[in-house]
Structures are given as C-alpha cells and as structure tokens.
C-alpha cells in the first residue's frame, strides 16, 4: 500500500513546526508552502500513501535546490536529504522527464562526468572552443542561445577559460615526506574549469608540510547523479572511488569543492544497504576533510598582503552537509590585508545547486537576484567561494548587477595562495 521506495518512515520525524520556512530559499522566492521543506515532506508522505500522484509531487521536488539549509534549521533532526533523495529516485522512474532535462542530464551525467577519457575530450573541446575565434563568433551571432538550453547559454559567457592542465606527472610526484598523509580528490568540474585551483591547493598542502598523493583512477564523486535521482550510477562511482582511495594508507581524503565533499562524506549513507561496502564506505567518509579544515590547523605562513574587501559565500553543502562552518572563516581571518565583511543572507543558497541553475534557470536566477542586494550592500570588491558551482553563479550574479569591473570572485584556495605562495 505505502510506496516503500520513498523515505516514508522518515517523514514522521517532521513535527511540522515550520522552523525550516525562513531557511528555505525557494520558499522565499516562490512564495508558497508547496515549495518549502515542510510542504515537500508532507507531499512525499502523501505520495507514499497514494493520496497524491507522482506527477503532483514532481514540480515541488524538482524545484528543491537540495541546499539542505532546512536540516540545519530543523529542531528535530529530520533527515530531509534522505527524503529528497528517495523522491528524486522514484520520480526518475515514475514520471516523464522533459526533453530538455534528458538532454542536459545525458550530456552531463552519463557521458561527460564519470569517464575521465570523455572528460578529457570535453575539456579539449572547451579549450579549443575558447582559443578559437569561434567563441567570439558564437557569442556575437547568438548561435549558442539556439543550440543550448537557456541556462547553458547564459552561463557560456562566464565560464572561465579552461587551463591546459599541468601534465599529470606534477600531481603524481611525491612531495617531501610530511607527517600527515593526504589523498587529494580532484573533482571533475574543478579539474576541467578550475584546474589551477587544484594546483594551488596541492601546493598549499605541501607547503604546510603535508604529504599529498593524487590517487590514480579516482572518479567523479557522483553528486550530480545523486541529485538527479540516478542513485545507481552514484553508487557505482562511489565504489570506484572507495577502491581507488584504498590503494594507499592516508590520514585524510581532501577536496576543495564543497559539493563533492558533501557527497564523499555521505558515501556511508549511500551504501548503507550494501553489506559488502558499508564499512569501507564508512571508513572513506570519515577520512574526508575539506581543504580549509587541514589548512586552518596548519602553520602556513601568510607572507603577502591581499588587499580586498571581501564577503564570503559559503557552499551550502559544505555548511549543511559537511558541517564545516568555522575553518574557512578562520583562514579568511588569517590573511593579512583582507578586510572581511559579514553579509546579510550569508547562509542563503546562491541558487547554483549542482546543475539546478541550468535545468531550472529562471528559478535559479530569482534566488540569485534575491541574494545579490545583500552582497552589493556589503560593498565588497571580492566574493570568496568554496565550490566551483557557487563560483560561477556568483560571477553570474555580479554580471547581472553590472558590477563585473568592481567585484571579483575567487575560490578561498586562490586567496590563501595569493598570500602564502
């Protein structure tokens, strides 16, 4: 009777107090209880009981960013992430997805993200595209607006210039043997579009006296697949990573990406029903640490002044899933010359949320536009982020405000590197 594929029992933990409402970005911008955590939990429960159809459930679930801010706000520890994940998986099976969704997903999930060879091709494609006059021509003619979905086309102009990554050897070289042994997780988008940040991260770790290894055969973390309800692929990728990182003995598995890190710390949850993997996944997840946590504890010396007035846009997944709140702020406080200004709505999601800003472009821009006035009124000339998705979205926000010349966007690692390297 009850659809057990949905996290039905978990919905009973919600006492419907509504304390999650002010924390939910879509409740603020979409103005309906339907698009609140409490509303979604109620709808998942009703769908499980057969009182509403899966089609009724689809839009409210699709519109959820999955930022998980509601979990931090919840006074009774409702596992919203599990409820959402179960709904995404069931909806993927039970409802029809639009052509656009399918196009974006198949482009990203199945082909691009998990296979490093495909990623290399895509990256090459990005490189050659950006180096050729084609980019100029495409922008000018607006051809991209026709070929690509609106979201993708909008982001095309702010995608950073892909760096030809250092030959893999640079990563494989061992540094001076440090006392702490770290396996570095690259992340596929980061490795493609922000590879210099990974380079800097590894240099910083080594400078801090950490022994860094870039494990071969590491894969995509599976976060985007999991957000899309494709748990099967997410589990396969998780297993691949667990195996890859068991190749050596490491104290920590370190990443510089809020979203991927959140997936990595939830491998134990993802594989909880697979006895052969459960313990291995728990070991893996326990070892994960965001780079800010490692660097904040190190005695790096901050040599150079970084003259900026900066706001910090925390990655939701780092805050609400990894529960890493203090370390980035501790690092920011250490950088000489950096004037950090706390901003209103700091903990509000920027609307990036994996590929949400491409699939649900308008909804995502509404959230961004709700956030940006708080950024602007803090009068920064720098926005510090900890996740490539947030990074691109904040860049988009700056552009929409017409302030590209006044406000830069940088990853925390870049800021620390400016001071320390």
């Amino acid at each position: 009777m009850v659809d057990k594929r949905l996290a039905y029992q978990e919905t009973f933990d919600c006492v419907q107090c509504g304390y999650c409402l002010p924390a939910c970005p879509t409740y603020q911008t979409m103005n309906k209880e339907t698009h609140s955590p409490r509303g979604r939990i109620n709808l998942v429960k009703m769908a499980a009981e057969g009182k509403i159809s899966y089609d009724d459930l689809k839009e409210p679930i699709d519109m959820c960013l999955g930022c998980r801010a509601c979990e931090t706000a919840c006074p009774t520890n409702v596992q919203y992430g599990s409820i959402l994940e179960s709904a995404k998986e069931v909806l993927r099976i039970e409802t029809k997805r639009s052509k656009r969704e399918q196009f974006i997903e198949s482009a990203l999930f199945e082909k691009l993200l998990p296979h490093s060879s495909m990623l290399a091709i895509a990256k090459f494609g990005l490189l050659s595209y950006q180096r050729l006059p084609l980019q100029f021509a495409a922008r000018k003619t607006g051809i991209l607006n026709v070929v690509l979905p609106k979201g993708m086309a909008a982001f095309e102009s702010i995608i950073p210039k892909a760096e030809r990554s250092k030959e893999k050897k640079a990563y494989e070289e061992d540094a001076l043997p440090g006392t702490v042994k770290v396996a570095y997780f690259l992340g596929c988008l980061m490795d493609t579009m922000f590879s210099t940040i990974n380079d800097q991260a590894i240099q910083l770790l080594r400078k801090a006296g950490v022994h860094v290894t870039v494990v071969k055969d590491q894969s995509c973390c599976g976060a985007l697949q999991s957000h899309g309800g494709d748990l099967k692929t997410a589990r396969q990728l998780a297993k691949k990573n667990i195996e890859a990182f068991e190749s050596g003995s490491f104290d920590y598995i370190v990443s510089s990406i809020g979203g991927c890190g959140a997936m990595l710390v939830e491998y134990d949850h993802l594989l909880k029903d697979e006895p052969a993997w459960k313990e291995r996944a728990e070991r893996f997840s326990k070892k994960h640490a965001d780079i800010s946590m490692v660097l904040a504890q190190s005695n790096l010396t901050y040599n150079h002044h970084v003259h900026h007035t900066a706001v910090y846009q925390p990655s939701c997944h780092m805050t609400h899933v990894q529960k890493n709140v203090d370390a980035p702020l501790e690092l920011i406080a250490k950088v000489p010359g950096l004037n950090y200004v706390p901003m209103d709505k700091q903990d509000l999601c920027c609307g990036s949320a994996g590929i949400y800003n491409i699939v649900n472009y308008e909804a995502s821009m509404d959230i961004l536009d709700y956030k940006m006035p708080a950024v602007v009124s803090a009068k920064p000339d720098l926005i510090i982020t900890t996740n490539p998705g947030c990074h691109l979205q904040m860049k988009m926000g700056v552009e929409r405000e017409g302030m590209s010349h006044q406000i830069q966007v940088k990853h925390l690692v870049e800021v620390i590197a400016e001071s320390c390297l």
Partner: protein, 475 residues
C-alpha cells in the same frame, strides 16, 4: 455538503473580477495539500488557497464566501499548536504569509502599525532600532506571523513580566463576516469608547472576523539583562523559591522550569554538563537598569538558596547566558530522539499550584504508561507537559488521548485553564464545557452567531461538535 461546488463558483466569480493576481489563487492539488495542516494534528485539504495582500481583496473574498456559504480559514505560516488554521470543512484557506508590506514604527507615539503577514520577530527587531521593544515572544516568533499571534493571543516566556499579545494591541482593522471593513480601538493607550471589540477579536481564533491590520503598543527596551541557572534537589522547593522571588518585588522577565525528565533527555542528547540527579532546574532572566539588576540578581540568589537550591549560577557574559538557555532550547530536539510524535500541551494553573500540578502530572504519566516531560513558563503557571509518542502506534495514541484529557481535568480542578497560549482550535474544543460550563459556552456561541450568522469564519474551531472527542490519530 456542497462546499466543493460553491467553492468552485467562488473562485470563478473572484477570477471574473480580476482583483487578485492569478498567481495568488492556488488550485492545484499539490498546492492545496500544502495548506492542509499546521504544527498540531489533523489534515484537511481546502478547495482553494488564496494569498491576499490587500484589505479590499479580503473583503471581496469574504463577501463571496458569505453569500455562497463557503468556509474561510485564515492562516499565517502554520505554526499553530492547536489546529487554528486547519480547514476542517474545506473551502478557502486565506494565506496571509505573503502580506507583509507594512511594518511602520512611530517612535513618538510608541506604536507599530503592521500588516497581518509580518513575522513576529521582525516587529521587535524594527522596534529595537528605536530602543523600543515588542515584548510578546512565542517560541515560534521567527516564523509565526503577527496575524496568527493576534488570532490566537499568543504568549511566550516574557508573559510573566510583560503579558501576552492582547496586552499590546491598541487597534485593529478587520473584515467582518459580511465583508465590511471596520476599525476597532485606535492609537491610544487609553480608550473606553464603547465595547472593547479589539480585545474580543484578539484570541477569537479567526472565528469572529479576519484581521487585516494591527496597531501595536511598544515599550522602552530594557538596557540590560542577566540570566541565572538554579538547580533544585526538590521540585517543591523550586515552587517555593519562585513565590519568594515574586514576593520580594522582583518580576523576572523570564522564569522557566525544566523537570528531571527534560534535563535527562537533554543530557542524553547533547551533554551540556547539567547534573541529572536534580528534580528541577530554573532559568531566570531579569532585565532593567544595569545597576538595579546587579542588586536584584543577588536577591534572587538569596531567595533560591534560602529555599533549598543546590546551586545558583549567574551568567557573567552574554555567551554564558546563551549557554544556559541552550539547555532549554535542546529540550524539543532531545525528547523526539526517542519517539517522533510530540503532543505539546499548555494547561496553565495558578502559580501556587505548580508543585501540585507536577505531582498530578507524574501520576498521569505512570497511570497511563506514557512518556511525559514537563517544562515551561513556571513564573506564570503556564506549564508545557509534552507527551512523546509514535502516531503509528494506535494503542499508545489511545493512552495518550486519555492522558491529555486527564491533564485538562487536573488543570481546571486546580483553578487553572485549558490553554495558556496555544489556543483551543480543534483539539481542546471537546473540553470547553468542562471549563466554562454549559451556559458560559452558550454565551460565547451567541457572540459567535451574532458576528458570523452563516458560520463561515473558521468553522469547526473552539466550539465542540456534538459528541466530539479528542482524537490524535489519523483517519
């Protein structure tokens, strides 16, 4: 019942008038199902949800509803603990959460004028900029709307010294059941012109009129406050200490109690270092002039020690104070670790009867074999016996229903009341006659009928249906 057809006609006629933007008329099942509940029990899907943002819109909707006999259920953000906004007979839910455009402070008159959807805590924040305060502080104040607070006459910890919502309402704009827009009260503290309709509407749970604007009284913001944490080996002693403090001429701004079961639950959940062998813990906050509260804190300490306190700690900093309050905040998350369903009552007794109430609650707990913890606002007798259960366990829920009835009986027997601050709504309606008597309840019914002859305003609340009993189970 032909509400369904009538509600459909209401929507059609409303649309024809083109008064309200289509995006604020919600008719899809997923939207309607999202307004079927509040923070208590019960689930009823309305035929339509409308989000008004102007008095004229409300007037139009109510006029149509009155003509077509369609029930109208005003709703803030659904934090009610008594079923206030649940559309038990279907019809229209008026969602006021999007109507928050007016929040004006008039410092010279010491008043605030607010739209119904303004969040309660935002009023106090706005007042703070003028060194003033809006004191009512229900624990949901960061989510709840002022409209909901007014309808339910909400209160909070500050009730002991500062009173509750009704003590801060000077005037209202309301829409009556026939759609008329009228004003009650005014902008002055003194006002004896005619019947005090303002106070009648406040706390009437949306059954007499729809509130569309309020003029609220503000008070000077105290310059400083001090928090104390007091431990008692004996619960009776804590009651004596409370009386001693009040007799000393000190009215704490907050005076909260936690019983041993609450303390144990908190310590098992997130240890804060509280001893679990004490029977009661008091959290006391005093506010006022910095020099005055310095002296008062010492007097409070003496009162407590003279009456058997094991330990009295005075917070030396704001951080330490918030650490003390953390224990109280953790009670709710802590108790739902065991079982998920929380039945939060607010039966209130005269202050002197608190120890007796605690004794009876213990008996009820044992006799019905239920999980019960008690905490709450000891200073004004407003206790929160919280029963922890699992709504999926039918047999347990029956025992809970019986226990809840016994709690109400005990409170009334001790000279108290069914509800200190949550309201009657659906859950407590069956017990109304027990407190008011048949004639008292009939008088209230007469008032209701004269305001709302067609019974369209929040029907199914306050007044029990024939043979209605407390049911917390689904279906």
């Amino acid at each position: 019942m032909n509400e369904n057809r009538n509600a459909t006609e209401l929507v059609q006629r409303l649309r024809a008038k083109q008064l309200i933007n289509e995006s604020r008329i919600l008719t899809s099942l997923s939207d309607r199902a999202s307004y079927a509940y509040d923070a208590s029990f019960g689930h009823h899907i309305p035929e339509v949800v409308i989000q008004p943002t102007a008095t004229e819109e409300v007037s139009e909707i109510v006029t149509l509803a009155n003509e077509l006999h369609v029930p109208v259920y005003p709703r803030g953000q659904g934090t009610s603990l008594s079923g206030g906004p649940i559309p038990v007979y279907g019809g229209v839910v008026l969602d006021f959460s999007q109507w928050d455009d007016r929040l004006e402070i008039y410092p010279d008159d010491m008043i605030a004028v607010v739209s119904p959807g303004v969040i309660t805590s935002h009023i106090d924040e706005a007042a703070k900029a003028f060194s003033m305060m809006y004191p009512p502080d229900p624990s949901s104040m960061n989510v709840s709307t002022i409209g909901g607070n007014l309808a339910e006459n909400a209160g909070g910890p500050r009730g002991l010294k500062y009173g509750v919502t009704k003590d801060y309402v000077l005037g209202l704009e309301i829409v009556t059941a026939n759609g008329d827009i009228i004003r009650t009260g005014g902008q002055t503290v003194k006002n004896v012109t005619g019947y005090d309709l303002t106070k009648l509407i406040v706390g009437s749970e949306g059954t007499l009129a729809v509130i569309t604007e309020a003029t609220l009284k503000l008070v000077p913001r105290p310059k400083a406050n001090k928090t104390m944490l007091v431990l008692f080996d004996d619960l009776i002693d804590s009651g004596k200490a409370i009386s001693a403090i009040l007799r000393e001429g000190i009215t704490p701004s907050k005076l909260e109690i936690m019983d041993q079961a609450s303390i144990k639950a908190v310590e098992a959940y997130q240890p804060t270092g509280l001893p679990i062998d004490v029977e009661a813990l008091l959290l006391i906050e005093i506010d006022g002039h910095p020099l005055a509260i310095e002296e008062e804190a010492e007097q409070v300490r003496e009162c407590c020690l003279k009456n058997g306190a094991r330990d009295v700690q005075i917070a030396k900093s704001a951080e330490e104070a918030s650490k003390f309050w953390q224990a109280r905040k953790l009670v709710s998350p802590a108790i739902v670790q065991v079982k998920p369903t929380k039945i939060s009552e607010d039966a209130t007794v005269p202050r002197s009867k608190i120890p007796e109430m605690f004794r009876i609650l213990k008996e009820i707990k044992n006799a019905n074999n239920i999980d019960l913890v008690v905490f709450g606002h000891a200073g004004d007798g407003n206790l929160h016996p919280n029963i922890i259960a699992d709504v999926r366990d039918e047999e347990e829920m029956k025992r809970v229903e019986k226990a809840v009835g016994e709690i109400f009986e005990a409170a009334i027997e001790l000279g108290g009341t069914l509800s200190g601050e949550h309201g009657i709504g659906t859950m407590k309606a069956p017990f109304m006659e027990m407190e008011l008597g048949a004639k008292g309840l009939a008088m209230m019914k007469t008032v209701k009928e004269s305001f709302d002859p067609n019974n369209i305003l929040n029907p199914g609340k306050i007044f029990p249906e024939k043979g209605q009993k407390l049911v917390l189970r689904d279906g």
